[in-house]
């Protein structure tokens, strides 16, 4: 099947590999590194102390996409994790918490610090508590109040988060023996802002017909740089290059697939162990994702947010509290998807419901009801998992997706006939 394999793909690989290399160096030299989570993170603060961030989630993702997750999930289940627990956690636990209490292959360092910025996802509290207990590493909890008052945090929320970031800074000072340098943080935030602008621009280009990249399947090439490498010059440059390339594709009217027939918004994380197979089921119908909610788990830049070098801590708090999908309510997600469907001119909504992640999935039946019955947006709900291959059934998935696009095609034909 056709897919985009341009400079974005190769450059993303290069800069992400360089990060892995830095982690390996940190592991070998015992230099400071810290665990952090992807969603709404405060990587800029760690970076200002030259603490290399490591992400258990990225480890879980890599294990799944390389089809290595199942034995590790089973190992974790032997340790007492339930078959109903999030498999992202289990794969990482099976890999990291071996009987010697350390990462199995020495490629990822044992962190000096575990920073839990759990934004909305309560499972992360458990995950990072377990990391701290098994690896015997101090844990810093950044308690980020869930966004529950329309679209703005309360004054109390903002004050609370900023005060915890200040405490994190003190912890980092003690850990590294370095004095906090606000100017360095401002410079890092300026790189974050440039990367965020680029990412937002790239996504906006998907409003074009045909869309220059698949905003679900190809977004993974940009989610690493924006969430893991944010605050570096490499990441900022990467997004400048990505935008340039996508603008050229748009000018040439070259889409990511040769014959774009259906534009969809996809909600929910992908089934990483079957990434390619799942993608092919859409490409076969000429269907392309023009927007996705999963690409906003780390942050939502498309509505204009950017880090503010003049107010670095406040803008980091803003990302954590407001500008990421995980810390927003299900109803705010409905509004986000509605806007995607309208502004990105989508024909349908596809909900991929994963058992592991209740943050995403619990209540998606209500979402289907809202879009399908209240708004009249054709909506497909399919189920599997993002990590555990046991929950993915290719034949059933194909049947459901084929039936959906068949009916969508029929609908389009009827609409055309009506128009005549």
């Amino acid at each position: 099947m056709a897919e985009y394999q341009g400079i974005v793909h190769t450059r993303s690989r290069e800069i992400m590999s360089a990060w892995y290399d830095r982690l390996a160096v940190a592991a070998a030299n015992n230099t400071p590194s810290a665990y952090l989570m992807i969603s709404g993170n405060c990587v800029e603060i760690l970076r200002s102390f030259d603490i290399e961030p490591a992400f258990p989630e990225v480890n879980a993702l890599q294990l799944a996409i390389r089809k290595q997750s199942l034995p590790l999930i089973l190992k974790a289940e032997e340790m007492g994790y339930s078959s109903d627990n999030c498999a992202y956690v289990k794969a990482d636990a099976g890999y990291t918490f071996d009987e010697h209490g350390g990462p199995s292959e020495g490629k990822v360092p044992i962190p000096k610090l575990i920073v839990c910025n759990f934004v909305g996802c309560n499972v992360y509290i458990k995950w990072f508590e377990h990391c701290a207990a098994f690896l015997d590493v101090p844990l810093v909890m950044i308690d980020v109040p869930f966004l529950r008052t329309d679209d703005r945090p309360t004054a109390g929320d903002l004050k609370y988060v900023v005060s915890q970031l200040q405490r994190l800074i003190q912890t980092c000072e003690k850990l590294t023996g370095k004095k906090f340098d606000i100017d360095k943080l401002r410079e890092i935030c300026a790189y974050s802002a440039r990367a965020g602008r680029g990412w937002a621009r790239a996504k906006a280009l998907c409003k074009n017909i045909p869309t220059p990249f698949d905003a679900y399947f190809d977004s993974i090439n940009m989610m690493g740089p924006i969430n893991v490498l944010r605050g570096t010059k490499d990441a900022a440059d990467f997004f400048d290059a990505a935008v340039k390339e996508y603008e050229e594709l748009v000018a040439a009217k070259q889409g990511v697939i040769p014959n774009e027939k259906f534009r969809v918004v996809i909600e929910g994380p992908p089934p990483y162990p079957f990434y390619r197979q799942f993608r092919d089921l859409f490409s076969a119908w000429g269907a392309v994702a023009v927007q996705s909610t999963y690409s906003t788990v780390g942050g939502i830049w498309e509505w204009g947010f950017e880090h503010d070098p003049k107010h670095p801590l406040e803008s980091i708090a803003e990302l954590m509290l407001v500008q990421n999908l995980c810390n927003r309510s299900l109803l705010q997600r409905y509004a986000q998807i509605k806007r995607y469907v309208e502004e990105w001119k989508a024909d349908a909504l596809v909900i991929h419901s994963v058992k592991s992640c209740r943050l995403f999935s619990a209540g998606q039946g209500d979402m289907r009801d809202y879009f399908s019955n209240q708004l009249g947006v054709p909506t497909l709900l399919v189920e599997s998992d993002l990590e555990d291959p046991r929950y993915y059934a290719q034949a059933m998935m194909k049947n459901r997706i084929d039936a959906f696009f068949e009916s969508l095609e029929h609908r389009k034909l009827l609409r055309k006939a009506d128009a005549k």
Partner: protein, 379 residues
């Protein structure tokens, strides 16, 4: 007709469930999803807080399965079903809390499906004691209070909140006494009696509940039951979805004295009385941060839950721990890993049995527990 004893009355109230409780109360009511909520804030505004804790086998799932998937806990579905079957229409609203990912999404689903209800979501601090957490929680409680005031068109004074703190301190203190009695003389009242008395409180005013508890304690004090050859256990994991009473009976019948448990944990949240003087909202926040029980729904940097469980085993003289998480309950299921690890380090026996509020046959569980008990008694 009035029931014969406080326990029988408690069982009646539990069996009748939330819809009956809403009808029984003459004042406006508000539903509280587990685990803990600052009850006093609603009570002071003239709204009776009632437990919105699922509906067990008293309701058939007709609509909620289409909203929540098969891998979501039963309590989320039966709670939603109560609403979809219009059994909550007489309630002013419902409050949800930052206990898990399902609860937070359920709050949204409630908001969309029941636009006439006052729906709020409380983010309870996860960062333990400290000035910043306390200030935050005070601001959060004030926000929640303002929402209830607006709904009820009232202005609540600090004196009214202090009066409500006094009202709730009473049944909480009595429940602490009840559990103390269970620890010292478990033969005086069965676990299912204690469970019924505690559970009934979620459908009662604090005054009526206190009166019922006092009556029950009096009755228990007069009993002269013989102590049986049973093992002393702590039951851990049923802090949100509640087990069917039959399951609690079975645990005891299979040879256990439940010397501590976390049933209906939110309604007996505090280790001692909440201060009845000074700023009452700050007193509630302080009590939450400094004087509340350990829970799988809360991170406490100073008191890791697995260490606290071992301390509790020692303090109660328990011989074993029964982990009893609700099916699909992520907070409880995750905690099991560290609990198990810690108990094994300390050579404390344990067993895990999952339950669902709708379960109605207990023979398998009985067999498992009996075998476990025998392995300890005849070791």
């Amino acid at each position: 007709m009035a029931a014969a004893s406080p326990v029988a009355r408690a069982r009646e109230i539990v069996a009748a469930g939330l819809p009956e409780a809403i009808k029984r109360h003459k004042t406006p009511t508000i539903g509280l999803f587990p685990v803990y909520s600052p009850f006093e804030l609603y009570h002071a505004a003239g709204v009776m807080p009632l437990g919105l804790i699922g509906a067990g086998s008293s309701i058939d799932i007709v609509h909620a399965d289409a909203r929540f998937q098969s891998f979501v806990c039963s309590i989320a579905k039966t709670t939603l079903e109560l609403g979809l079957q219009k059994k909550l229409t007489a309630m002013e609203g419902a409050i949800f809390h930052s206990i898990c990912d399902v609860a937070r999404n359920l709050a949204s689903v409630f908001k969309r499906n029941f636009p006439d209800m006052h729906i709020d979501y409380i983010h309870l601090a996860q960062n333990g004691a400290g000035e910043a957490a306390e200030d935050y929680l005070v601001s959060e409680y004030r926000r929640v209070l303002a929402g209830v005031e607006a709904r009820m068109k009232v202005k609540v004074t600090d004196d009214q909140i202090r009066a409500s703190i006094r009202a709730y301190n009473r049944p909480r203190a009595l429940m602490r006494k009840l559990y103390e009695m269970r620890r010292n003389e478990p033969e005086r009242a069965s676990s299912s009696e204690v469970f019924a008395l505690v559970r009934a409180g979620t459908y009662m005013s604090p005054g009526d509940h206190a009166q019922m508890l006092e009556g029950a304690m009096q009755e228990f004090a007069g009993r002269k039951n013989k102590r049986m050859d049973r093992i002393r256990v702590i039951v851990e994991g049923a802090f949100c979805e509640q087990p069917p009473p039959g399951l609690v009976d079975v645990l005891e019948a299979a040879g256990c004295y439940l010397v501590d448990d976390d049933f209906v944990a939110g309604w007996r949240w505090f280790l001692d009385d909440v201060s009845e003087t000074g700023d009452p909202v700050r007193a509630l926040a302080k009590a939450y941060l400094e004087r509340s029980r350990c829970s799988s729904t809360r991170h406490d940097p100073d008191k890791p839950r697995h260490k606290e469980l071992v301390k509790r085993v020692r303090a109660t003289g328990a011989q074993a721990v029964i982990f009893m998480p609700a099916k699909f309950c992520e907070p409880a299921l995750f905690d099991y890993v560290l609990f198990r690890r810690e108990l094994e380090k300390e050579n404390i026996p344990h067993i895990m049995i999952e339950f669902e509020e709708k379960m109605w046959t207990f023979e398998r569980t009985r067999g498992e527990i009996e075998t476990f008990v025998e392995s300890l008694l005849f070791d």
